[in-house]
Symmetry: C2
Subunit: 100 residues, 2 copies
C-alpha cells in the first residue's frame, strides 16, 4: 500500500496520476493531508483520478478518517483517505471478463 502526502501546494492532476497508477497496479492508496488547503487538493486529486480510471472500467471510492500525527514535534490531526476500487464495480468487471 502506498501513502501519498498531499499539501496545499500539491498539484491535484499530478496526485491524480499517481493515484490512478497505483490503483491500476492493484494497490490500495492512502492519502494524508493536514489542513483545509491540503484536504481540498486531495479531494480534487481523487475526483480527477476518477476520470483516468473510469475509461478502463475502474470506479473508485474513498474513505476518510482522522489520524493523529506529529509534525516537527507538534501534534496535528491529519485526514487520511483510503482510496480503493468499488467492490460492486470490480465484481461486475470480473464477471464481464469471465463472460468473454
Amino acid at each position: 500500500m502506498g501513502c501519498l502526502k498531499v499539501s496545499s501546494k500539491s498539484s491535484p492532476a499530478s496526485v491524480a496520476g499517481a493515484i490512478a497508477g497505483m490503483i491500476k497496479d492493484g494497490s490500495s492508496v492512502e492519502i494524508q493531508a493536514v489542513g483545509a488547503g491540503a484536504v481540498n487538493q486531495a479531494v480534487k486529486a481523487v475526483a480527477i483520478s476518477r476520470g483516468f480510471l473510469s475509461p478502463v472500467g475502474i470506479e473508485i471510492c474513498c474513505i476518510p478518517s482522522f489520524a493523529d500525527i506529529v509534525i516537527d514535534g507538534e501534534y496535528r490531526t491529519a485526514i487520511r483517505f483510503s482510496v480503493e476500487p468499488r467492490a460492486g464495480f470490480a465484481v461486475i468487471a470480473a464477471a464481464d471478463a469471465a463472460a468473454l
Copy 2:
C-alpha cells in the same frame, strides 16, 4: 436522495448526524461544498459519520466529483460527494442477516 450544502462554517458533527440519519433510512446522500474550508468540513463530517454508522454495521464510502454551479450570478466549481454504503459490506450484512 438528499443534498446537503456544507459551508466552511458548518459544524462537521451536525452534518455527520444528518448523513448518518439519511444513510440509515436507506437514502443515498449528496454533499455539496464550495471552497477549501467547506470541502474540509464536508470531509470531516463524512469521517465522523463513519463512527455513527459503523456500530450498526454500515460502512460508507464517498465519491467526489466536480460540479459547475452558479452562486449569485457567478460561476463556481463545487465539489460534490456522493456518500453511499459500501457494496461489499452491505452484501455481507445482508448475508449475516439471512443466516440468523
